[in-house]
Amino acid sequence: MTSFKPPHQHSAAVVVENLTVQRGGKPVLNDLNFTIGAGSITGLLGPSGSGKTTLIRAIVGVQTIQSGSVTVLGHPAGAPPLRRLLGYVTQDPSVYLDLSVRENVRYFAALYGLGADAADAAIGDVGLAESADQLTGDLSGGQSSRVSLACAQVGKPTILVLDEPTVGQDPLLREELWTRFRAAADGGTTVIVSSHVMDEANRCDRLLLIRQGSLIADGSPAAILQEAGTTSMDQAFLNLVRRGAAAEATAASPAHRPPNPTPSADRTRR
């Protein structure tokens, strides 16, 4: 261990350097570089298939990576000390449908060495106290994803990573979830949320816009809107994509230009 560290690394929760991931020979993430500060909400935004889930899996340490590195709280992603510090909510509620809500959360509490009190508190925090004895498989989609969230939060993680947590939730619950994420961040937890709903971007302190495995924008919501010269996040994304496509087209030699005049912009509109 060296005694000297550059000052910015003390507050960095996640450092991604030259991260490249391929799946089935096709690149999913291309040479990503960014740093996420502690105690903030960072949104990973991009259309379906842009590589958000792969990036999240790399951060929690379950993704095979081809090159580059992901460092979380000073450890390589997935290192044993991180497993007590990180909460992970997968895209589909990864909980046991054949167990009650209480049994699910108590099991995850036990994995962190915590007892029934911690589990009951986590169930109360996601507003499921009254459904605690119901079978998780009998709950609505929105409720079961809140069970999944309770299982991730029960260990009081220092870093909370959520893959599309608001999908399928009604507006009232979405509001409630974002309030909860904000409270967690105010308490010092680093929150990383992916979403393809651009409207949710305004809730984040910082946005990473991803398209086809590359970062196309990085900054606060206000800064990104300003850069794109618009007031709606959807429009901002489209503007940035078009600008990127235009730059690519200028860079490419005419002989290699694809037949479709605006292929990239078309692809994002789908």
């Binding site: 799946r23 089935g24 340490g61 379950v62 497993r83 990864s94 167990l99 099991y107 060495g113």
Partner: protein, 245 residues
């Protein structure tokens, strides 16, 4: 391995089983029904029923636990719970031994019921004690659990997982000496039969049928099956990757 996490995991698997009343009913009733069929098939002739019933007491738990475990573990992989568990402090062995412990306990209950039916209701007699039969039955169940955990790694769907039954289980039943005495087999078949764990389990059960005391051959057979359980669990652990593509 962390005993706290291991027991929490075994408890969780048993709780899942408890919510599934139909599976519990099947686990309890099926061996009783099969034993009864066997009994009536031989019209109560004990010289024919007894050796076959003894063998079946060992084979049923193997088949049933193989099926139950390969599907349960496959669900764990496909539902995303496995990926999630591997981001928690849980070790791979906590999960594998958790399954072994939970289904081993279920198998002990099942073997107890099957033996009680065979001995008390259907009048099975063996030279050796029934507790040795239960021991071998539970060991066979653990063999089924360990092979099921291993095979689930090679299946992507439940349909595929079920297909491993004919591959992994049926050759062992055909070659264990039940249909043709091992001595009468062609040399190469005899050799194949010798590397199959179920052969030794059946061999051990035959020893219990013939000898009042536990023979050294019996303990050798028990040792071989136990070794195969450990080997299959080690291979299953190697197929459990934290990082996947």
């Amino acid at each position: 391995m962390n005993p706290h996490i291991l027991f929490a995991t075994a408890g969780r698997i048993l709780r899942q089983l408890r919510h599934d009343r139909r599976t519990i009913a099947l686990l309890v009733v099926v061996p009783i029904v099969l034993m009864a069929i066997l009994y009536f098939m031989f019209d109560g002739q004990h010289e024919r029923f007894d050796p076959l019933a003894l063998t079946m007491l060992g084979i049923f738990p193997f088949i049933i636990m193989f099926l139950v475990t390969s599907i349960a573990m496959l669900r764990e992989r496909t539902s995303g719970t496995l990926e999630r568990l591997l981001t928690t402090p849980m070790g791979k062995l906590d999960l594998l031994f958790g399954y072994g412990l939970a289904f081993g306990l279920a198998a002990t209950v099942q073997a107890g019921i099957a033996c009680a039916t065979a001995y008390w209701l259907l009048g099975l007699t063996t030279a050796g004690g029934a507790q040795l039969v239960v021991l071998i039955a539970v060991l066979n169940a653990l063999l089924g659990v360990a092979l099921g955990l291993l095979c689930s790694a090679f299946a992507q769907t439940e349909f595929q997982a079920v297909q491993f039954l004919p591959i992994v289980v049926i050759p062992q039943i055909l070659l264990c000496g039940l249909f043709v005495a091992r001595e009468a087999m062609a040399g190469w078949l005899h050799a194949v039969s010798s590397v199959m764990p179920l052969t030794w389990a059946v061999n051990g059960l035959t020893e219990v049928g013939l000898h009042a005391e536990a023979t050294s051959a019996l303990w050798r057979d028990v040792g071989i099956v136990a070794g195969c359980v450990v080997l299959a669990l080690a291979l299953a652990s190697a197929t459990l990757r934290r990082r996947t593509a």
